[in-house]
Symmetry: none
Subunit: 143 residues, 4 copies
């Protein structure tokens, strides 16, 4: 369930982040095709239009390009863009949390404690898309 229809963040944007992640994880590689709009729509149990909007956004970002009648492909520098955008998404969440914590008067030690707790909790719940193993290309040991 990589998309949550009850989240406040729009589904199409969740899909964009999802694809960013898959590219960053090396699942989708430059000049290889992304799943077809219809196929991904079925996989994610959403409407094709929603996937299309996500793909359109990816194209606008320069992460993907479209070949009429053939499909949507990862751009040559798509992996780089996707990685930086993935990190941006992650940091955005972190910063939101930190802002909230600071506004509540929490100090750095407390914030770190909350973060560590989250890190461990997610580890257990993390039987999600376990695409991440120790032997995937292009991750771990990054900037």
């Amino acid at each position: 369930m990589p998309v949550d229809p009850h989240s406040h963040v729009p589904i199409y944007e969740q899909i964009v982040e999802h694809i960013h992640g898959r590219i960053t994880a090396g699942v989708f590689r430059p000049d290889e095709p992304l799943p077809s709009i219809r196929a991904l729509a079925i996989e994610l149990l959403v409407n094709p239009n929603t996937v299309q909007r996500a793909y359109q956004e990816l194209e606008r970002q320069g992460v993907a390009y479209t070949q009429k009648g053939l499909g949507v492909f990862v751009a040559a520098n798509g992996a780089i863009s996707a990685r930086s955008m993935s990190e941006a998404s992650v940091c955005e969440r972190f910063e939101q949390g930190i802002d909230l914590a600071r506004a509540a008067g929490l100090g750095d030690p407390t914030i770190r404690r909350l973060f560590d707790r989250s890190l461990h909790e997610v580890r257990e719940t993390s039987s999600r898309h376990s695409t991440n193993g120790p032997s995937l290309p292009g991750e771990e040991a990054s900037s």
Copy 2:
């Protein structure tokens, strides 16, 4: 800018989190009044209706109660509720970020690095509404 109109999280929910924070930080104390709807609306540059909806939500949560004609007050146990809800909000953001990072195949060291970067970046940008000093009652020394 305690409220971001471009965020995907509804404004009234941002206001709720904002109040949680102020209560947790000891700015608003049990049985003391919250700012009037009108005043807060002006302070946050938001429509009064939106503030009202937030106050309704706070009342539903048991964090505040209304005295007709007098205003909205922090509930007796409001500080405790607010604190746990603030932490929950913070952790929610952290977990979202961690989920995203894991989905992108990033490992714990990388994730920690991103978190540290966020922690320092926010520190600099953090010339926000620092109504709260480091030594207010009820913070530092979390559960």
Copy 3:
């Protein structure tokens, strides 16, 4: 009939160009609201979704900005952007025509003759949206 459903250029893009033109012509001015999505949809006899897509594109271009619950407004520098984009659209058409003409082996004198003919023909048919009179602000005597 500012939009032609039979054109090859998508309706939403026609709407974008249409708005560019209206802004350039001074009909819509900075910080004033554009017609509501629903209203323009009715006026143009298209689906509100189509108008919305156009407005979204205008926002992406920096020509307009959205205020939730209030409407879509012309951006401060929207007039400038719109003007340059209008001119770009015009020149794009001209260049396409010139390309075609050159590819057909036509020389500049012939091309000019065709252009003049078009200029005069359009003048007669031009009982379209005659928003343009001799006394409108901001046009005639441009770069």
Copy 4:
């Protein structure tokens, strides 16, 4: 790049216009064969199906005819038809541009200025398929 996959005008139609131009320019002459579907598909970096559709359209227009097993040939009066259609295509673009300009409140002097700019810009970029010199049969001295 005689064919632009990003254009809104369908590729097969671009090919039709392209052939019109080649015929008008005297590159393809009446009762002589057009390039084979396969060859043109390769030259234009396009799918053979698309070329075939263009050839069908040319046949429908009376500009070309098919001899089974031999190929597609320029019709006897193909040069005349092609020329008028080429000019029509050119003028269509010009009129579109003029319409846009008028809708934006631009006056004839401004429009002419934009046209002249386009005429000069295209001249420089015009290191295209200059298979045609200035002195080919059937051009210069238009109707």
